[in-house]
């Protein structure tokens, strides 16, 4: 956890700070974030913090209401579906380009990454997510289109917040789920690559939908009000909540 060199701007420092806390799960879904407290914690005014939160809101990690507060976004089923449809579009495009233009080094590295991801999906949970993201990032980079990589990276950041929660999965995902995908990508046929990636992303959506199901109810219970106190915890208990 190092300061990313010289942020050169308090706003970007605050941005990284809050983003990391969300991605690590220190801020839980639905939790209200206080600009002033974070500003005090970082020793700055709350204006650069506001700019940072605004940016995170654009990226879909936060949601806010004018004078009520800002909280970590709680997704609705439509959010998840929409997210995965956009993501499918982008990743299919990336995998087609990868199959067509990736270098030999790209393809070799991808094989190694896929093997690592598949291995960790069964054993090491905490390292699985970063490895999985790296795999997809490499595919995007192999497509040789920075704009596409950037768009994909943004969608991944959003989805990451959904995985910092309970992981009841261990659903028998095939042991070579990612290796099989990569095998097709490196083979070099864009159409087959697209097909494989499309299937891959769709599986991901089904998985996420299952995991997030309890939280959909929480979203409904919260409604439009931004609870600042612990009332939210009470709601969590009241809910039908098969949270685990």
């Amino acid at each position: 956890m190092k300061e990313t060199a010289m942020p050169s701007s308090l706003a970007s420092e605050a941005y990284e700070f809050v983003k990391q806390r969300i991605l690590r799960g220190n801020f839980t879904m639905g939790q209200v974030i206080s600009r002033r407290k974070i500003a005090a914690e970082l020793g700055m005014s709350f204006l650069p913090v506001s700019e940072a939160l605004l940016r995170l809101e654009f990226e879909g990690l936060l949601e806010s209401r004018p004078r009520a507060g800002t909280r970590v976004r709680i997704p609705s089923p439509e959010d998840v579906r929409g997210h995965y449809i956009v993501r499918e579009a982008l990743e299919v495009q990336a995998s087609m380009l990868f199959a067509a233009v990736a270098t030999e080094e790209d393809r070799i590295e991808l094989h190694a990454l896929a093997a690592r991801v598949d291995a960790m999906s069964a054993t090491n949970q905490s390292l699985y997510l970063p490895a999985h993201e790296k795999l997809h990032r490499r595919i995007a980079e192999g497509a040789r289109c920075p704009a596409l990589s950037l768009a994909i990276e943004k969608t991944h950041a959003l989805a990451s917040t959904w995985f910092c929660v309970a992981r009841p999965h261990s659903d028998e995902s095939p042991p070579r789920r990612h290796s099989d995908l990569v095998d097709i990508l490196v083979a070099g046929d864009p159409v087959k690559a697209a097909e494989a990636m499309r299937e891959h992303v769709r599986r991901g959506m089904e998985n996420t939908m299952k995991r997030l199901k309890p939280y959909f109810q929480i979203r409904k219970a919260y409604g439009k009000t931004f609870f600042r106190s612990e009332k939210r915890d009470k709601l969590r208990i009241i809910l039908p909540s098969a949270l685990n």
Copy 2:
């Protein structure tokens, strides 16, 4: 040109104001925008204006450097290519979904829109762009995925700024360019729909590349400095500039 109801926030008012001026070409590419002047013009502080410009920067319409200024973004060839690759990904996805799930009304309306667009591509230049955008928006809406529609809409806003400039086109685009596309979309075969849309977007990219070629040189001449005075106009003359 109506105020969109009650903006409820000065920042969003400034956002709409600046965005419209960019899209209408009142702000030309590379022109530096002064937060303070706009704030004065709108009778507000420059803080809400800053928030608006920040948002437009996220959307790719503006670019800024820390204490130099904020200007309407001048695209590089890589920008255009990246934009169209992302756009291709999204629109192909939309057209596949449209072919699969659009209602009968959707398909009927699309036919009419396509005919209108093709008609105006030859005659009415000023109405062509809005009609063209509406056509693509309807396709996205027919896909029944708000998130996808939103993503596409954002990419269109960016591209629109590129068309407020010289239109040397009138390149013999086939008279039924959009009608042919729509014919395939409404037929209902997702694979063929995807194919047709992919081809359509690629044509669009080639077109845009041709139009923007002169501006690529301007971008190089500008470099990283944000000219606030008229020196920029001199540069424009100096350039090889077959601007018209």
